[in-house]
């Protein structure tokens, strides 16, 4: 039914497409190219290095070549879920299913629930905030002070966290946000040293009863804070939310350009723009218009759809697409974008056209 609606909209609004949505030439990497595994959970751009968090090792793409790290090299676990660079030191922090690793100039140091104060070995996310490293684990949040070695744990005993399955963390200088799977969003204010929770006002129902009155759903998967603009973006399995500190705005498949309500990640460009990783493609929102990049769900041919603020959808002719429509994460490299998918890693090379922005 949805497909029919989409086609009808496409047919009716083909000429009304807004110009200037970013276009890319997609280069896709799989195990055939040296990627450790085609199940890519996330991707991290670190200067001229690109790190691929895969189900079977950590991939490093540099100078046109792949290098693979596994537990034999000292990595905590083969299943790598997230990678975060420390731009000050050049180190990279790696969240895995078996602990948290630090890669520093060829050396891995691993922190586990047995050898350190880390709350749990299942580490879904990690974020670096100066001397602090924040981790999202299956048993709450953990913060390592890299200067003193002190671990501080955040859970139901010292935060308003009624569910401790933290799924992602974004630590900025002023605020830290956790996506708590089934528990909404937790906010830590650095200056006041206080925690606050944000929850779905209609509870865990999969139906949005109160549109824009709060977080869209409790099952959150990702948070991205545009600190300069004071805007929080949240991804859930039932839509996305944007919060400006006073008002919430929710994005649903039915009334936005999201190709699906099932979101694995949101990554802010700023307070106005963000990228959404969904099970039905990669979506970009520029504050008014939407674009979706994917292999078509039916034909698997490269597809780019643009939806303007009025809801008119245009199909843009493209020759390439991300490796798969099931997208798990993105990161930016200048104007380029790297995309983690269920069947490979994709490099979106920005194509400049007249009128594009």
């Amino acid at each position: 039914m949805k497909k029919m609606v989409l086609l009808a909209v496409l047919a009716g609004a083909a000429l009304a497409a807004p110009p200037g949505m970013p276009r890319f030439r997609w280069e896709n990497f799989t195990t055939a190219d040296g990627l450790p595994d085609n199940h890519v959970f996330n991707v991290c751009v670190d200067g001229d290095r690109v790190w691929a968090a895969t189900e079977n090792g950590l991939g490093l793409y540099q100078d046109g070549k792949w290098r693979v790290f596994t537990p034999k090299d000292g990595l905590a676990h083969r299943a790598v879920l997230y990678v975060a660079p420390d731009p000050r030191t050049g180190d990279v922090w790696i969240a895995t299913m078996g602990g948290l690793s630090r890669y520093s100039a060829g050396r891995f140091d691993t922190f586990t629930q047995l050898n350190s104060g880390l709350a749990n070995d299942v580490v879904y996310g990690v974020s670096v905030q100066g001397d602090f490293v924040w981790a999202a684990t299956a048993a709450g949040g953990s913060r390592l002070n890299t200067r003193t070695g002190e671990w501080t744990l955040f859970n139901e005993r010292n935060t308003p966290m009624y569910e401790i399955w933290t799924y992602a963390v974004d630590a900025k200088p002023g605020k830290v946000y956790y996506a708590v799977w089934g528990g909404g969003v937790l906010e830590y204010d650095v200056n006041s040293d206080r925690w606050k929770d944000y929850n779905d006002p209609d509870g865990e129902t999969e139906i949005v009863l109160y549109k824009d009155q709060g977080l869209v759903h409790e099952i959150t998967t990702s948070v991205s804070y545009a600190e300069r603009d004071g805007i929080l973006w949240v991804a859930t399995y039932f839509g996305a939310s944007r919060y400006d500190g006073r008002n919430w705005h929710n994005f649903l498949e039915k009334d936005s350009g999201l190709p699906s309500n099932f979101l694995n990640q949101v990554k802010a460009v700023d307070g106005k723009r963000a990228w959404f990783s969904t099970d039905k493609g990669l979506a970009y929102y520029d504050g008014e218009n939407w674009a979706v990049y994917r292999p078509a769900l039916d034909t698997h041919k490269p597809e780019m759809l643009v939806r303007d603020r009025a809801g008119a959808v245009t199909r843009v002719g493209v020759d390439t697409a991300p490796a798969h429509h099931y997208v798990l994460g993105v990161d930016f490299q200048g104007e380029d974008i790297w995309v983690a998918t269920a069947k490979g890693l994709s490099h979106g090379i920005r194509v400049r056209e007249e009128g594009s922005r």
């Binding site: 100039a105 629930q113 104060g117 744990l153 005993r157």
Partner: protein, 618 residues
């Protein structure tokens, strides 16, 4: 012992007891540890660890012209490329003194991490790099603002720094080995920093090395040398006569040799240990290595060294550090110097080598042409040697062991520990493995040894050392008395985990309550023998008794072990009697399944973290 000698000994002991009863502050000996020479060769700057000052020797006047007070227990010093600034790492003050060489005054105190041991600026004077020994990291300080901008992860015990001649790299070596798997070969690293980006760009792994001291680069940047110990701690320490305790060596790296190679400093029947300071002649004709326990400087013929390495097959290169005959190819001389030589530096014209003799309180001046000491710069200090000072000389000396193989300070590096587990007793391979413990604060913690077998330090350091370790002449009663006096006087380092006002943080308070609790969380009483604060009681956090805490291994002769003191326990990883716990956490997460080592299995993870935060304050 003759009657006369016996009375003399008795007299010494009586005097010592009388003198030490009140634990009077020990005399302050200069204890020079590092030297640097001004670009014009007119001044020699001598860093005195004991008196906390830089003594400035004017080579023309032939006199100390100034003593510049710096921070507490300064350990490292470097001179700016233009000679206008000196940076001194104050290891107990956790800061760096910046000295203007024009006014010879401290003009700024810069921040550092925990126990800074060396400080070195890049060539442009933009950033200062500080090696923090117990922080295991390197502070990067912006010399423009005087602020620390970041810390870089180093190896364990980051201690010594060197700048490449082109200024592009900073090399850092480490006094302690990496924390590896239990009973694995030790390894260390040289951490290489890219000074353009102020990040770690490379880590050169040093296999089988632990206890790595100074590193130096040749003027052309093609040759690097790092002084290091190669401990043989995986086999029983019963084969001193075969050289199976320590190898004293250099790691050689750089374009001149390609892949790094380790080369021995020892000879087949004589050891030169531990290698500490390194200097390379500007024309690369020679390299100089101070060997603290041997009271000497080894002169390396660099051309001979490079020829030897070039002629070796890959397999020979890999094994070269164990081939003690190799040193005959490149060791040109052994120059006797004063007591306990540490840092050394060449004059700009290369004609003189200055060597800081730490326990001799002087500096040997070597004429590099004749390879002889031609002058000695005295640094003053107390006129007489106290028992403790004599003991300190003994502690750092290797002359008592068979063939001068090693001394106390080979394992207790700089009177601390070495981060290794040893197979000490001649009872078979892999039996009674023991972790090396910190010596600070041991005076009142008898008995000694992990099995509590030695009732006092005199037994620990005397017959035991003589019989099991040195296999040679051991100490006279007077010497033993002095040695024990020194060990008892080793000061306790400041604890960095306590708040300045002496109060505990919230986490530490919670941890203290867990440490002192008498009931489990469900209210069940905890038997006294299983309460942390019962066994780890008193001023040193030990009841000085043996206990079976369930950590014995099949290869241990007894499951009962001495209850260790906990003062500064945070420094002494690995843990447990055999070092099987690599972190404090593992003591309970891995090795306490039945709550025999305190009751911890009812604790949540954050509560265990609190307990550990408290332990760090002890």
């Amino acid at each position: 012992m003759t009657a006369r000698r016996g009375w003399r000994t008795m007299g010494a002991i009586v005097l010592a007891i009388a003198g030490m009863g009140a634990r009077t502050p020990s005399a302050r000996y200069p204890s020079p540890i590092e030297v640097a020479v001004s670009p014009d060769g007119g001044r020699v700057y001598i860093l005195c660890e004991g008196t906390g000052e830089v003594a400035v020797w004017d080579t023309r006047a032939g006199a100390i012209v100034k003593r510049v007070a710096v921070g507490r227990v300064p350990k490292g010093m470097s001179l700016a490329a233009d000679g206008r600034r000196i940076w001194v790492a104050n290891s107990w003050s956790d800061n760096v003194s910046e000295i203007d060489t024009g006014s010879l005054a401290v003009v700024r105190t810069l921040p550092a991490g925990e126990e800074p041991n060396a400080a070195l600026a890049d060539r442009a004077g933009r950033f200062l790099y500080v090696a923090n020994r117990i922080g295991n990291d390197i502070s990067v300080v912006d010399l423009g603002t005087g602020q620390e901008v970041k810390r870089l992860a180093a190896g364990r015990g980051a201690s010594y720094l060197a700048l490449s001649p082109d200024g592009a790299r900073v090399y850092c070596t480490h006094i302690y080995p990496r924390m590896g798997r239990p009973r694995s070969q030790p390894e260390s690293e040289i951490t290489v920093i890219d000074t353009a980006r102020q990040v770690v760009m490379e880590r050169k792994t040093l296999a089988n090395a632990a206890g790595v001291f100074h590193v130096a680069l040749s003027a052309d940047g093609r040759l690097g040398l790092a002084a290091q110990l190669r401990p043989k701690n995986l086999i029983p320490l019963a084969h001193v006569e075969h050289g199976w305790v320590f190898g004293n060596s250099l790691s050689v790296f750089g374009a001149d040799v390609g892949e790094p190679v380790q080369i021995p400093l020892d000879e087949l029947d004589r050891y030169y240990t531990p290698p500490f300071g390194v200097a390379i002649a500007r024309d690369k004709s020679a390299a100089y290595v101070s060997t603290t326990g041997s009271d000497s400087v080894t002169v390396i013929d660099v051309a001979g060294l490079l020829r030897t390495i070039a002629a070796a097959s890959p397999e020979e290169r890999r094994m070269m550090a164990n081939d003690l005959s190799a040193s005959a190819n490149y060791v040109a001389a052994r120059i006797p110097v004063g007591h306990g030589p540490k840092g050394l530096a060449l004059s700009p014209d290369g004609t003189r080598l200055y060597v800081a003799n730490r326990t001799g309180d002087d500096v040997s001046v070597i004429d590099t042409a004749s390879r002889k000491v031609t002058a000695t710069i005295g640094l003053g200090g107390p006129g007489e040697l106290t028992f403790e000072r004599r003991g300190e000389r003994l502690f750092f000396s290797a002359r008592f062991a068979f063939q001068g193989h090693f001394g106390c300070a080979n394992c207790h590096l700089e009177a601390t520990f070495d981060g290794l587990e040893w197979d000490l007793e001649p009872d078979g391979f892999g039996k009674d493995i023991v972790d090396n413990r910190l010596l600070e604060d041991v005076a009142d913690t008898a008995p000694f040894k992990w099995n509590g077998g030695n009732p006092n330090l005199e037994t620990e350091c005397g017959p035991r050392t003589e019989k099991y370790f040195y296999r040679a002449q051991s100490y006279s009663p007077e010497e033993l008395f002095d040695l024990v006096a020194f060990i008892k006087s080793i000061p306790l380092r400041p604890n960095r985990h306590r708040l300045p006002n002496g109060e505990l943080t919230a986490a530490q308070e919670r941890g203290k309550a867990i440490f002192e609790r008498t009931r489990k969380k469900d209210g069940t009483p905890i038997p006294q023998a299983n309460q942390c604060a019962v066994c780890h009681s008193g001023p040193h956090y030990t009841n000085q008794k043996l206990a079976d805490v369930g950590t014995g291994k099949p290869a241990d002769r007894s499951p009962k072990f001495d209850t260790p003191q906990l003062t500064n326990v945070v420094l002494t990883a690995p843990y447990l009697h055999d070092g099987s716990a690599r972190t404090l956490e593992e003591i309970w997460t891995v090795f306490n399944p039945r709550d025999q080592h305190g009751v911890t299995n009812d604790l949540q993870k954050d509560e265990l973290n609190d307990l550990i935060e408290y332990l760090k304050t002890l």
